[in-house]
C-alpha cells in the first residue's frame, strides 16, 4: 500500500529528497545478498510504496512539497531530476515568495488558512493516484516557522479530511543551542497540536545525529546534507520492505499500519525514536564484519541506557531485577537512568538473519508493568540486505527516550513565557496566551505519563 509524503519547509524538503534517494538507490542496488527474483520483489514493493510509474519508466516520488520560499524547493526538484533515476512530479509543489520568519503563529494562522485549498488539492491529487493508500508521512521541523506552523495546520486538516488514513509525522528536534530564539515556543506549540491530530511522532534529534556524523562517520565539516543522509539511512532501514509475519513469501503490504499497531495504539504515548546499528562511513564498512549477537547486544544496551549511538554506551545501566516491587523499580530507574520501554520493534536485515537471537529484548524487566513482552516486542526479519550493510538492525522504540529533552524544552519555554518574552509576536497572529497554556498542560501530561511507566 502506498504512502504519500508531505515535505514541509526547508528541513522537510531537504530530508525528503535524501529519503527518496536512499530508498531508490538501495532498492536498485545489486548488493542485496539475495537472488534476482527476491531483489525484483523487493524493488517492486519499494516502488509501489513510495513511487508511481510514469510513461517513460522514471519513478515519480509520491510526494507533495510545500515551502513558503522558492529556493529550497527549486534546489530539491533539480537535484532529483539530475540524478536521472527518479524525480518529483511536475506539479507536486507549492511555494510562495515570502517566508514565515520563524513564527509559528504566522505559519499556523496566516499561511495555513490562506493556502489551505491549494495545498490540500495537491495532496488530494497525489492520494488519488494511489490505488491502495495507507497513510501520510509528514516531514517537518519543530523549531522554524514554516515547517512547524504549517505542518501542524496541515496535519490537522488531514485528520479532518482523511480520518481513516494513518499519519506519521517525522519531526526534527532542534539543536539544544539552536539559532532561533523562539524555537522552544515553536516546539511546544507544534508538539501539543500534533499530539492531538497525528497518530505517531517519529523524532530525530539534531544533536544526536550530529554526533553520529562526527564520531561514527568521522566527518570533519558536518553539513546539513551529511545529517540528512544519516537520517535518510535510518528511515530507509525502517521503511524498506520487510517480510510479513504470516508468510515469508510476501513483503508486508502495510508497514506503516503494522508499525503503528505495534507501537502507538495508546493515545497518550505517541513519541517514537529510532536507533540503528551499525553505522559507519563507506570506507570503514569495507573492513568491518559483524555478528548478530554483537549487534543486538549493542542495540539492547543502547535501548536500556538511552544511548543515541553505538559509541560511548554506558554499560553500567542494567534493567532492574525482577522481584523488586514497582515502587522500588521507579526509584532505581531515576538513579541509574534506566530507560523503560512501552513497546519496541526491531527490524533486522541481511545475511543469516533467521539465526539472529532477540531473546534479550523479550526480558520483562525492560518493559512497563502493564504490557507483556509478547505484546510489547516485535521483530521483523528480512534476508535482503540494506544499503551495502551485510547486516543491519534498527530499533523503533516507544520509550522514555524523549522525556528528558521534552522536559527541558517545556521548562525553557515556560521560563520565557513567564516573562512574556516575544509573546506579542504570536498574539499578533491569533495565538493567545491560553493556547500556550493549553500546550503546556498537554505536554506536562505527556511527560507525566511517560515518567509513570
Amino acid at each position: 500500500m502506498s504512502i504519500v509524503t508531505v515535505q514541509l519547509g526547508q528541513c522537510g524538503n531537504q530530508i525528503g529528497f535524501e529519503v527518496f534517494d536512499a530508498l531508490l538507490r538501495d532498492s536498485q542496488s545489486s548488493h542485496g545478498l539475495c537472488c534476482k527474483r527476491e531483489n525484483e520483489a523487493y524493488q517492486a514493493s519499494c516502488k509501489e510504496r513510495f513511487f508511481s510509474e510514469e510513461e517513460n519508466g522514471v519513478p515519480v516520488a509520491r510526494a507533495v512539497l510545500v515551502d513558503m520560499e522558492p529556493k529550497v524547493i527549486n534546489q530539491t526538484l533539480s537535484k532529483a531530476a539530475q540524478s536521472g533515476r527518479w524525480k518529483y512530479g511536475q506539479h507536486a509543489c507549492f511555494c510562495q515568495k515570502q517566508g514565515s520568519g520563524n513564527n509559528w503563529a504566522y505559519g499556523y494562522s496566516v499561511h495555513g488558512p490562506r493556502h489551505e485549498e491549494s495545498i490540500m488539492n495537491l495532496i488530494r491529487k497525489e492520494v488519488e493516484k494511489c490505488d491502495s493508500f495507507s497513510g501520510f508521512f509528514i516531514i517537518m521541523s519543530m523549531a522554524g516557522g514554516t515547517g512547524s506552523g504549517i505542518g501542524a495546520f496541515v496535519t490537522q486538516n488531514l485528520q479532518d479530511q482523511y480520518s481513516n488514513s494513518l499519519k506519521m509525522n517525522q519531526i526534527i528536534w532542534p539543536y539544544g543551542t539552536g539559532e532561533v530564539i523562539v524555537q522552544n515556543y515553536n516546539s511546544i506549540l507544534t508538539l501539543s497540536h500534533l499530539y492531538r491530530s497525528s497518530d505517531a511522532l517519529l523524532v530525530h534529534e539534531n544533536d544526536a545525529v550530529h554526533k553520529i556524523c562526527a564520531k561514527l562517520m568521522n566527518i570533519k565539516q558536518i553539513s546539513f546534507s551529511d545529517i540528512n543522509q544519516v537520517l535518510a539511512h535510518q528511515l530507509g532501514s525502517v521503511f524498506q520492505p520487510t517480510y510479513s509475519a504470516e508468510s515469508s513469501f510476501h513483503y508486508r503490504r502495510n508497514p506503516l499500519g503494522d508499525l503503528m499497531e505495534h507501537l502507538v495504539p495508546h493515545p497518550e504515548f505517541k513519541m517514537l525514536s529510532v536507533r540503528n546499528v551499525p553505522h559507519m562511513s563507506e570506507n570503514s564498512l569495507a573492513y568491518s564484519t559483524f555478528t548478530w549477537a554483537g549487534l543486538l547486544k549493542h542495540l539492547r544496551q543502547m535501548l536500556i541506557s538511552n544511548a543515541k549511538m553505538e559509541e560511548g554506551i554506558d554499560w553500567h545501566v542494567r534493567p532492574p531485577s525482577s522481584g523488586l516491587p514497582s515502587l522500588g523499580k521507579k526509584s532505581l530507574n531515576k538513579d541509574l537512568h534506566f530507560n523503560t520501554s512501552i513497546a519496541n520493534l526491531v527490524i533486522l536485515r541481511g545475511k543469516d538473519v533467521q539465526s539472529a537471537d532477540v531473546e534479550g529484548f523479550k526480558d520483562p524487566a525492560l518493559y512497563t508493568s502493564w504490557l507483556e513482552p509478547v505484546n510489547a516486542f516485535n521483530v521483523w526479519k528480512t534476508q535482503r540486505a540494506f544499503s551495502k550493510y551485510e547486516k543491519s538492525a534498527v530499533l523503533v522504540s516507544n520509550s522514555q527516550f524523549l522525556v528528558k529533552p521534552l522536559d527541558m524544552i517545556v521548562g525553557k519555554a515556560w521560563n520565557m513565557f513567564a516573562s512574556k518574552a516575544y509573546i506579542h509576536q504570536y498574539t499578533k497572529f491569533g495565538i493567545e496566551e491560553e493556547d500556550f497554556l493549553d500546550s503546556f498542560t498537554s505536554l506536562e501530561q505527556v511527560v507525566a505519563s511517560y515518567c509513570n511507566l
Binding site: 491502495s132 493508500f133 488514513s165 495508546h266
Partner: protein, 492 residues
C-alpha cells in the same frame, strides 16, 4: 417434531427410508453417511463425533473453510450446545452430554431433526456454499442492534487490570479498523479497474464486463488446475483474492490486456483449432479449457446438491416417521417444565402496569406540547397583526409556507423510508453500467449510498448527543469532588 402426522401410505414402500436419509445426507455439506444415522438411532458411540461436526457446520455462522476443520471436537461440541441453547432447544439431555464425542449420538440425531423441522436447513447451507461467478456485495439494511447475541458470561479477571492496557487494546482495535477501511477502498479501486478494462468482453450484454473470477480464469489457467480433495468451489474462492491482486496498483489498461492476451495468443487457441485432436504436446491448446472445466465441475457439483435437496423434500415424510420411532426409544424426559425458562431466549417482562405508565406519560406530553404550541401561536398572531399586509408580506408568508412544507415533506419521507417495507436483502452482483441503463429490479449504488449517508447522519447525531450527556455527567462528578482538577484528554 411431535406434531408431524404420520402418513402410513407415504412410507410403505421398502427402501424409501434409506433413500430419504441418503438424499438428506447428500444435500448437507459433508453430510455423514446414512449408516451414521442408523447407528445414531441405536445410540452407538461411533456415530457421535460425525454428528457433532455436522451440527457445528449447520450452526456455525462462519463460512466453510479449512479453518473450521482445525477446531477441536470439544470446542465444536461446546459451541453447538450454546448455539442450540440460545435457539431454545428444549431437551436437557443434550446440555449434559460429554464433549469428547464418546456418547450421545441419539440425542444429537434428535437435535439435528429439531433443526431440520424448524427451518430449511439444506437450502440455507446451499446458499452459503454457492459459487459466486460475479463480484458480490451483500446488502443488509437490518437494524444492527436487533442482532445482539446472548449476553456474554461474566468473566472474573485475575487481579486488578491496568486501564492503560485496556486503552492499548482499544487503540489496536482502532488501527485494525482503519486498515480494514483502507483495504476495502483498495478492493473497490481494483474492482473498478477490472470492470472498466474488460468492458465489452462479456457475452451477456446485460452484464457487459467480466468479474474478477472470470478475468482470473482467463489469466491463470494453472490456478484452476489445483483441485484439492475437498471440492473445486474452494479454488474459485482462492481465485478471487488472487485475481484482484493480479490487477496490481498502478496497472494501466495496456499492461492488463498484455497479461491477459499472452495466454490467449498462444498458437492453437484460436477457435478453428479446437476441432483439432488434442495431443499431449498440445498442452497450450487445452490451457484455456482447464479453468472452464473446473467451473463446469463446480457447477455440476452444485447441481447434484440441488437435486439432493429436491429429493429430500419429496421423501422427507418417511424420515419424520422414522424419527418418531427414534424418539420413542428414548427414555421419557423428566418434567422439564420447571427448568424450561432457562432454555428459552429471555423475553423481558412487560407488565400492564408499565404500559399504563407509558400511556399516561405520553398523554401528559401531548397536553404540554399542545399548550406550548397554542401559546406560541397566540403570541405570533399578536405580533403578525401588527405587521402590514402588503405584497411583500404575502410573498414572505408564501416563502415560509413553502419551506415548512418542504421540511415536513422531507421528515415524512424519512419516516416512510425508515418504517417502509424491508429493502432488498442479501448478496447482489456488482455491475458497472452507464447511467440510466439499470433495470427495474436493480439496486442503484447512488440510492444505497444516499440511504446509508442519511443513516450515518442520524447515528452521528445520536453519538454527539450521547457524548454531550457523558461530558455533562463527568463534569458533574468532577465538580462534586473538591480539589479535583479535571484535565480532559487531548482531542477535540
Amino acid at each position: 417434531m411431535r406434531g408431524r402426522r404420520v402418513d402410513p401410505a407415504a412410507g410403505a414402500r421398502a427402501g424409501a427410508l434409506p433413500e430419504a436419509i441418503a438424499a438428506l445426507s447428500r444435500s448437507l455439506p459433508s453430510g455423514p453417511s446414512p449408516e451414521i444415522f442408523r447407528r445414531a438411532k441405536f445410540d452407538r458411540p461411533d456415530a457421535t463425533s460425525a454428528l457433532w461436526q455436522l451440527l457445528f457446520r449447520v450452526l456455525s455462522p462462519l463460512p466453510a473453510g479449512s479453518a473450521l476443520a482445525s477446531i477441536a471436537l470439544e470446542v465444536q461440541a461446546r459451541l453447538v450446545k450454546s448455539a442450540l441453547c440460545s435457539q431454545g432447544y428444549p431437551r436437557l439431555a443434550l446440555a449434559q452430554l460429554p464433549e469428547d464425542g464418546s456418547q450421545g449420538s441419539r440425542e444429537l440425531l434428535l437435535a439435528l431433526s429439531w433443526l431440520l423441522a424448524r427451518g430449511p436447513v439444506p437450502e440455507q447451507m446451499l446458499a452459503q456454499t454457492r459459487v459466486p461467478l460475479g463480484d458480490e456485495m451483500t446488502v443488509c439494511q437490518c437494524d444492527a442492534l436487533a442482532s445482539l447475541g446472548p449476553p456474554a458470561p461474566h468473566m472474573e479477571t485475575e487481579g486488578p487490570v491496568d486501564v492503560r492496557h485496556v486503552q492499548w487494546l482499544m487503540g489496536k482495535l482502532r488501527f485494525r479498523w482503519r486498515q480494514l477501511v483502507s483495504s476495502q477502498q483498495e478492493q473497490c479501486a481494483l474492482l473498478s479497474k477490472i470492470h472498466l478494462y474488460t468492458h465489452g468482453c462479456h457475452s451477456d450484454q446485460s452484464l457487459g464486463h467480466l468479474s474478477v473470477t472470470e478475468a482470473e480464469m482467463l489469466r491463470d489457467p494453472e490456478g484452476g488446475q489445483q483441485v484439492s480433495g475437498v471440492g473445486a468451489a474452494q479454488n474459485l474462492d482462492l481465485a478471487y483474492p488472487k485475481g484482484l491482486h493480479f490487477c496490481t496498483p498502478g496497472m494501466g489498461p495496456r499492461t492488463f490486456w498484455n497479461d491477459l492476451w499472452l495466454v490467449c495468443e498462444q498458437p492453437g487457441l484460436l477457435p478453428g483449432d479446437w476441432a483439432a485432436p488434442l495431443d499431449p504436446g498440445g498442452a497450450s491448446a487445452c490451457s484455456l479449457l482447464f479453468p472452464l472445466r473446473v467451473l463446469l465441475r463446480t457447477l455440476e457439483q452444485e447441481n447434484r446438491r440441488l437435486e439432493a435437496v429436491l429429493a429430500w423434500r419429496r421423501t422427507e415424510l418417511v424420515f419424520w416417521q422414522w424419527m418418531d420411532t427414534v424418539l420413542g426409544t428414548c427414555a421419557p424426559e423428566a418434567p422439564a417444565a420447571a427448568s424450561q425458562p432457562t432454555f428459552l431466549p429471555w423475553v423481558p417482562e412487560c407488565g400492564d402496569g408499565e404500559l399504563e405508565l407509558v400511556v399516561r406519560e405520553l398523554q401528559t406530553l401531548e397536553e404540554e406540547l399542545r399548550e406550548a404550541a397554542e401559546r406560541r401561536r397566540v403570541a405570533w398572531e399578536a405580533k403578525a397583526r401588527g405587521c402590514g399586509r402588503g405584497p411583500e408580506w404575502s410573498a414572505t408568508r408564501r416563502a415560509s409556507q413553502e419551506t415548512v412544507e418542504k421540511e415536513l415533506g422531507a421528515l415524512q419521507r424519512r419516516w416512510e423510508q425508515d418504517s417502509g417495507p424491508a429493502q432488498a436483502h442479501g448478496p447482489h452482483r456488482l455491475v458497472r453500467r452507464e447511467d440510466g441503463a439499470a433495470g427495474d429490479r436493480d439496486l442503484r449504488a447512488a440510492e444505497l449510498i444516499r440511504t446509508l449517508r442519511s443513516q450515518e447522519a442520524c447515528l452521528e447525531a445520536m453519538l454527539h448527543q450521547l457524548q454531550g450527556q457523558c461530558r455533562q455527567e463527568l463534569a458533574r462528578v468532577a465538580g462534586a469532588l473538591p480539589g479535583l482538577i479535571w484535565i480532559p484528554p487531548p482531542g477535540r
